[in-house]
Symmetry: C2
Subunit: 253 residues, 2 copies
DNA sequence: ATGTCTTTGTGAACGCGTGCACAAAGATGG
DNA sequence: CCATCTTTGTGCACGCGTTCACAAAGACAT
């Protein structure tokens, strides 16, 4: 560990908390908007409001990146855009493949938000032979048989899975074997991957179920506060039964 | 108004942690699969593996719902499916509207995972007059002008926003004013809503940026390990439980 | 240079989530 | 009925993330 400076990791700090990393894109988006409006500097209070977070949290987040602010003034917008972009690895181009070009996969391929952030759709891959060669969003769909070759030739390290759930693990295994080390999974399945591979999942169904939980809780509290019956404003028409008073259909043995 | 949220001493264990709520759909999915295979009971260990979580965490999660397991045996699959469904509010039907029927909105409308979980697409809404009346996924698209009427007549409390970012806040405001109290937002914007309204966001761009960060970090560590040993990344000094943990960032005065 | 004013950067306290480890509970077998 | 074995339910400790509150740092005016 013979190093000139043992401490002071500052700008090269590897210890950025995961929660902070997840917020950096949020700050970056707000800063980009300010940059487009040619705003030179911004205070933590203003930027926090734009990003929808607490200002103390924002300052602490930035403190992990280093001291890029000026006391009494705020942060230099352009400089901060660059620093966060660099930290997130957006100063380089990331080729991405999308596997499973159905409803969702096609929508993703058509999404403009990719390129604007340094991500480039390098290839679209589907198992359906009828789709091979057919262009989606201007990119010809390629067959799954060539998956390994495509990954290798394009130097792809990020893969997006938009296949049915049943095929997801298999696709995932092939992607990983071919060299992909980051996966964004839209299929409602738990993917198992070796160490060193990152998986993030986007599950619409889960999000809706979480909303439903809170919705039910709100309705329950409202009914409770009102007095009794669940005849509140937003009771689904068809549902005759309320969230309460149901009887378990099955009892454990 | 009516921000009285503090006096909730939990009449009957109504204090389920948010992190637990977010995992319940995961358990439910795994349990549903077991149910379809007619598996009668499952241990916390097996179910945890299927859901991709720690078994102790799963047991603690279930303990918030009550004691539904049998020691020495495990959990009754059917009963647990029912209990979690009830807790999440999935025993009732939730009408949902999707606003913004473009690439993504159309994909969502076509998504079968909605109905299978108790969510019903009550209406599709778009601002483009050319789309009005045109059926998407068998449901005719309606114009934004009728948004309030649609929400009201269908008793909708959950709305999905899939419009461009610039229109999202405006759409959100109208949804909320019309009575929607839960919103799933796909547009890359921070939505501001009054108290009592829940917003969850799905941001593909953010997910990719988080993956890119880790990807870059992996590449950096690799290069570092290959040749340049500038600094020791992390030296696990004591495998035991050292109370000191991370090195506090020392400030050179 | 000195004082005032603004805003950052961070120490410290707190709360939440996680995972270990084990006693209690119940099943199962003799 | 008792012994043993399996698995739950949870007390506890630890670490991470959030938030407060404030001293320090710099800008700016005089
Ligand atoms: N559509 C949505 O809005 C939505 C929302 C949330 C989650 N999802 C999930 O995303 C996934 C895709 O949804 P979708 O609506 O696009 O389905 P889809 O059926 O329209 O598309 C699936 C595509 O994957 C292809 N495919 C199947 N097996 C493959 C394989 N082994 N290798 C490569 N390609 C393969 C099919 O040919 C098809 O083109 C599903 O898992 C779904 O649950 C979709
Ligand atoms: N396509 C994707 O994969 C993807 C991924 C992540 C995020 N997003 C986000 O989702 C949103 C939609 O993306 P898209 O690709 O479907 O865009 P799109 O342009 O294809 O569709 C947008 C639709 O919204 C409608 N619209 C516009 N203003 C409206 C208003 N005020 N009220 C009602 N409808 C209105 C338009 O008529 C259009 O049909 C965007 O914010 C995008 O950033 C999309």
């Amino acid at each position: 560990m013979a190093t000139g400076r043992t401490h002071r990791p500052a700008t090269r700090s590897r210890g950025i908390p995961e929660a902070t990393v997840a917020r950096l894109p949020l700050y970056l988006r707000a800063l980009t908007a300010l940059s487009e409006r040619s705003v030179p500097t911004v205070s933590s209070e203003e930027l926090a409001a734009a990003a929808g977070v607490n200002s103390a949290k924002l300052r602490k987040d930035f403190s992990y990146l280093g001291s890029y602010g000026t006391r009494g003034v705020g942060y230099d917008v352009e400089y901060l855009v660059y620093q966060i972009s660099r930290e997130l690895g957006l100063t380089q181009d990331w080729p991405v493949v999308i596997v499973g070009i159905g409803n969702l996969g096609a929508a993703l391929a058509n999404y403009g938000g990719f390129a604007s952030r340094g991500f480039r759709v390098a290839a679209l891959i589907d198992a359906d032979p009828a789709m091979a060669g057919k262009p989606v969003a201007g990119i010809p769909v390629q067959h799954t048989d060539d998956l390994e070759k495509i990954i290798d030739e394009n130097g792809v390290s990020i893969g997006v899975i938009a296949t049915p759930a049943g095929a997801a693990q298999q696709v995932c295994d092939r992607l990983v074997a071919a060299g992909v080390t980051s996966i964004l999974n839209f299929a409602p399945t738990v993917l198992s991957v070796p160490d060193g591979v990152d998986v993030r999942k986007v599950d619409l169904s889960i999000e809706l179920q979480i909303l439903a939980f809170h919705e039910q809780r709100k309705a329950g509290e409202e009914a409770e506060a009102a007095g009794e019956s669940e005849a509140v404003i937003q009771t689904p028409k068809e549902s005759g039964k309320g969230p309460d008073g149901d009887v378990p259909a099955v009892m454990p043995a």
